[in-house]
């Protein structure tokens, strides 16, 4: 069986190689701290395997994670000088390779799609699935990236096999610590859950609904999903809380709403919140860093005017179809 952990190790090795490169990069004024950041991150990815399997203490990783946050807060990782091709060279290469340049980029979605749509269902001789359950997307992305790299190397024939690593580092250094912010936020969600933040929010919303008004209950469920998602950065974290507070006791039990509609649309109302929040870093801040935007809130600003009317649509859809 192909295991997802293999690909976490691949990520870990990538980060460690980046750390070694950074350590040798004299043009990076912050090379020691930066190398420490990528190095700790790389080791954490491998160590995480043992934490998930309960073979190693999690608190050690916890210390490493807080260490990463402190490094990020102190201005690490920094960027070195970019050693890539000049714009003029790129024009020259583009003329030479033409549309073949798209080939490696297209390998990624095609292979990922094959994994997600077909290989995810393939079983081995012993009846087990070929790919680890629930991980087909990640495994597909990992395999797709490796195949795309092979195609790219064969096509472009760079002078040194280290070229993709240097170019990968160039992109990673643009993203910086934001690369692991999504992971930190997921961790925060877990801590919030264990500490009872969700239950406390449920108690607050209890006081907000006028008794007997269906539209008010529907609106509060949807808006509550959006707001709580904005705070938590994740509709998955908001869903159990708001459903326990309003969705189930009021909308389904008291007003006899159709559960499938209430819950499906409620989750989508939460997604409207995801469009608006820097807490959903992987969807909103990482793209800004990847596109080298001056304004890290640029994507959010483009999304808010869609999110607000769409939240209204969700309220109406739930109101008219669930009751």
């Amino acid at each position: 069986m192909i295991k997802v952990e293999w690909f976490y190790w691949l990520c870990g090795i990538f980060f460690v190689l980046i750390a070694l490169q950074v350590l040798n990069d004299r043009s990076n004024a912050k090379r020691l701290g930066s190398a420490a950041f990528w190095g700790i991150l790389g080791v954490s990815f491998g160590y995480g395997t043992f934490v998930v399997n309960k073979q190693a203490p999690a608190w050690l990783l916890g210390i490493a994670v807080i260490g990463l946050a402190v490094l990020a807060g102190s201005g690490f990782p920094g960027k070195g000088e970019e050693r890539t091709t000049t714009p003029a060279e790129r024009v020259h290469f583009a003329d030479r390779f033409g549309n073949k340049l798209f080939l490696p980029a297209l390998v990624i979605p095609v292979v990922a799609a094959i994994f997600g749509a077909w290989l995810a269902k393939v079983k081995l001789g012993d009846g087990k699935l070929l790919l680890q359950t629930g991980s087909a997307t990640i495994i597909g992305l990992g395999v797709a990236s490796i195949l795309a790299l092979i195609v790219g190397m064969a096509l472009l024939r760079p002078k040194s096999p280290a070229v993709p690593l240097h170019e990968g580092r160039r992109l990673l250094e643009h993203i910086g610590w934001a690369a692991i912010l999504p992971q930190m936020l997921a961790t925060l969600g877990l801590l919030f859950n264990t500490s009872g933040v969700g239950k406390a929010v449920g108690r607050v919303t209890d006081h907000l609904i006028p008794k007997g008004s269906l539209i008010a209950a529907v609106a509060l469920y949807c808006v509550g999903m959006a707001i709580f998602t904005i705070i938590m950065g994740n509709a998955f974290a908001a869903f159990p809380v708001m459903t326990a507070a309003i969705g189930w006791p009021l909308l389904v039990q008291q007003f006899h709403g159709t559960p499938a509609v209430v819950f499906a649309v409620g989750m989508l109302a939460g997604f409207c919140g995801t469009l608006c929040t820097p807490m959903a870093a992987n969807f909103n801040l990482v793209p800004a860093a990847l596109l080298e935007m001056k304004d890290q809130y640029g994507p959010i600003k483009a999304q808010i005017p869609t999110a607000i009317p769409l939240l209204g649509c969700n309220i109406l859809i739930m109101y008219f179809f669930a009751f």
Partner: protein
């Protein structure tokens, strides 16, 4: 109730623009302490959370190959290709991408797009190329606008497409949670079908805004030219 202070830490931290990693860490520690967790338990939670959410960082495995093809002029080629197609404007291109992204996500093919593997190498250079054909060299305001909308087309398409697919995390979370908590037996397919009306609304709203983006860019470019003229006078 005091545990809500942790939420306040997040809100205040982001408002003051303190480094997000520090804000998140501080909020986690505050929530844990008020919630009565011991320091070791808090560290354990950080470790467990980080280890079990590694999947969100896997996108970085695409960076070496994306960087490699960028080195050999991918973005330039994307611009060149799109500048030959005169009917393709920035807004129309992004609207088409929104439709493709949403449609493929609805079929469960969520990793077809994404900011690392599609927006940076392909979609943004094409959108910028279409704008360059119209306005020449792009002033910063236009560049930022196009980048923001390129990212938004990807995200909106993904969010309101993926929920139409049965075996996606959010649907499994809904059925898993309510079945376990309230003893219901919801069919994943019913949840997925009820994601369709919202999906259509999302496509109409964001698609329209993307098509209107061309006019917005016209205005921004005109304002920029006027300002430049003013400056040289």
């Amino acid at each position: 109730m005091w545990v809500l202070l942790a939420i306040a830490v997040v809100v205040v931290g982001f408002a003051l623009r303190i480094n997000s990693m520090l804000v998140v860490t501080a909020a986690g520690i505050v929530a844990g302490l008020i919630g009565g967790l011991s320091p070791v338990k808090i560290l354990n939670a950080f470790g467990d959370g980080f280890a079990s959410s590694r999947s969100v960082t896997v996108f970085i495995v695409t960076l070496p190959v994306i960087g490699l093809i960028e080195r050999y002029g991918l973005q330039h080629q994307a611009r060149k290709l799109i500048s030959k197609l005169k009917v393709v404007t920035t807004g129309r291109l992004l609207a088409i991408y929104l439709l493709i992204r949403q449609g493929t996500a609805a079929l469960g093919l969520t990793s077809i797009g994404g900011p690392a593997q599609a927006v940076r190498p392909l979609i943004h250079p094409m959108a910028a190329g279409a704008a360059e054909r119209r306005y020449g060299k792009l002033p910063e305001k236009l560049q930022e606008k196009i980048k923001g909308f390129a990212a938004s087309a990807d995200t909106v398409g993904l969010f309101f497409g993926e929920d139409i697919f049965v075996a996606i995390g959010s649907i499994l979370l809904i059925t898993g949670f309510v079945d376990a908590t309230y003893g219901l037996h919801l069919e994943a397919i019913d949840i997925a079908l009820w994601a369709i009306p919202t999906g259509i609304c999302a496509l109409l709203i964001h698609g329209t805004r993307l098509l209107l983006l061309d006019r917005q860019l016209d205005k921004l470019a005109a304002a920029d030219r006027a300002a430049a003229k003013e400056a040289t006078r």
